[in-house]
Symmetry: C2
Subunit: 242 residues, 2 copies
DNA sequence: GAAATAGTGTCTTTGAGACAATATATG
DNA sequence: CATATATTGTCTCAAAGACACTATTTC
């Protein structure tokens, strides 16, 4: 579209695309899983400069005709191998300080994903491109760019959301026991919760979990009833941190 | 920087800025104030296509060397005439669907501002560029672009944040009465709260308000004690919606 | 049966909410 | 004094948390 045509169309001259600095837009993901007592984040090793060899959050550029969330969904599928329907994906925040990427101006729309961790080797024990890393082991400054800050935002969001939503079930498999669900809370909040009270509380929240009618035995002790995620999204009564 | 030089510097060829579509990045603001029983949003009338003549949220392009939040602060100062220190400004969400702006690809980082409404004419009674509009009077589809959606996100954020933060005081002047503070909650939540219980609840929250020791008389009735905002940011006990 | 884990029952404390009662102003 | 608004006091109920107790498995 030339300048003359643009003027004819009523589009002011100051919207000439060429007049604006070329911002690149990326979608970066904080993909979290829980393997009690650890909360783990999916990281990828950078192959190229800058920060070559460093760990970073998975992410990529948003395409010309692509929405940011679609870019995030693609990365979630590619990197975590998780079907989008099974995971929870939500926008987290946008990081756009000048200089956050030394190469060019990049605005990153960060997303938070909560997944039931697939069976993968322990983080750090393989040299593959992607690995699960215990968030407690992520040092300040360990991640590339400002990804430490993005990770912190994701962790804070998850801690808050477990209080008043049913999202903890996203960290569990299709069926789970109360102990597993409680393990999610205890890992995310780094606290201990009273099993009897947790049990009653969860069951008192409509739509949080549904009994499967089955039990499962893990090691010693009385077999535990199993549950599946309910249809509710918000808790009528908040689960409180220890 | 030529392609060859870029390769020498270890920057991969696929980071050629020219290879990326020119995203424009804007900062749009949901600037809210409370004039009980109304919650009001600051809107500006668009002078140019597209949506010429329609109301829109204030906003503008993020400069080449400017952070998005700095752009938002500039707009808050310019449009609302509010000192940044007095208002609360936080990032809300980012809206970047292709086609949300018919002219070009624009990614908007939306911010939420909470201000004590300055003395301005009632919305709709003047023809100035900017006006305060009762959010209850904003029809679906009344605002330009996807600004309805952005406004909804802002309102939802405010409703949630009043529950567990002290931000309601940002809608009040330097000093205020309990009735005024309660009016903020009642306007935002569109509900009625029991004055005695509200009073005790607020005073029980450490750091929410501080007594000034003064009283103020408005019309009939016993004069009300006045308070100023405390130093706390989070409430130890949530204020519950009616 | 001992130990381990799961789940139920009960008691105490705390906070939320309803609402009566009191305080202090105006007309 | 009647009325209006602000503020304090009191009672009741619901929920949170501590923890004793019961249930069901493995070794």
């Amino acid at each position: 579209m030339g300048a003359a045509l643009r003027r004819l169309a009523g589009v002011p001259a100051d919207y000439d695309p060429g007049a604006f600095p070329p911002f690149a837009v990326t979608a970066d993901l904080v993909i979290l899983a829980v393997r009690p007592p650890a909360v783990e984040v999916l990281v990828v090793r950078r192959a190229e400069a800058p920060f070559a060899g460093a760990w970073a959050l998975p992410g990529g550029f948003v395409g010309p005709e692509q929405s940011p969330v679609a870019a995030a969904q693609d990365k979630l599928r590619d990197k975590a191998g998780v079907a989008v329907e099974e995971a929870h994906l939500e926008q987290l925040a946008t990081f756009g300080e000048p200089g956050r990427d030394p190469r060019m101006r990049v605005v990153s729309v960060a997303y938070l994903a909560m997944v039931a961790e697939p069976a993968v080797p322990s983080p750090g024990r393989d040299t593959r491109e992607a690995a699960w890393m215990d968030v407690a082991a992520v040092d300040r400054g360990a991640l590339a760019f400002d990804h430490d800050e993005i990770l912190d935002a994701g962790l804070e969001r998850v801690r808050a959301k477990l209080e008043y939503t049913t999202l903890a079930t996203k960290f569990c498999g299709p069926t789970f026991t109360m102990a597993e669900l409680r393990g999610v809370y205890e890992a995310v909040w780094n606290t201990e919760l009273d099993p009897p009270n947790f049990n009653r509380k969860v069951l008192a929240c409509d739509g949080f979990v549904e009994p499967t009618g089955e039990t499962v035995s893990v090691g010693r002790g009385r077999p535990a009833k199993t549950y599946r995620a309910g249809s509710g999204r918000l808790l009528d009564l908040a689960i409180r941190r220890g």
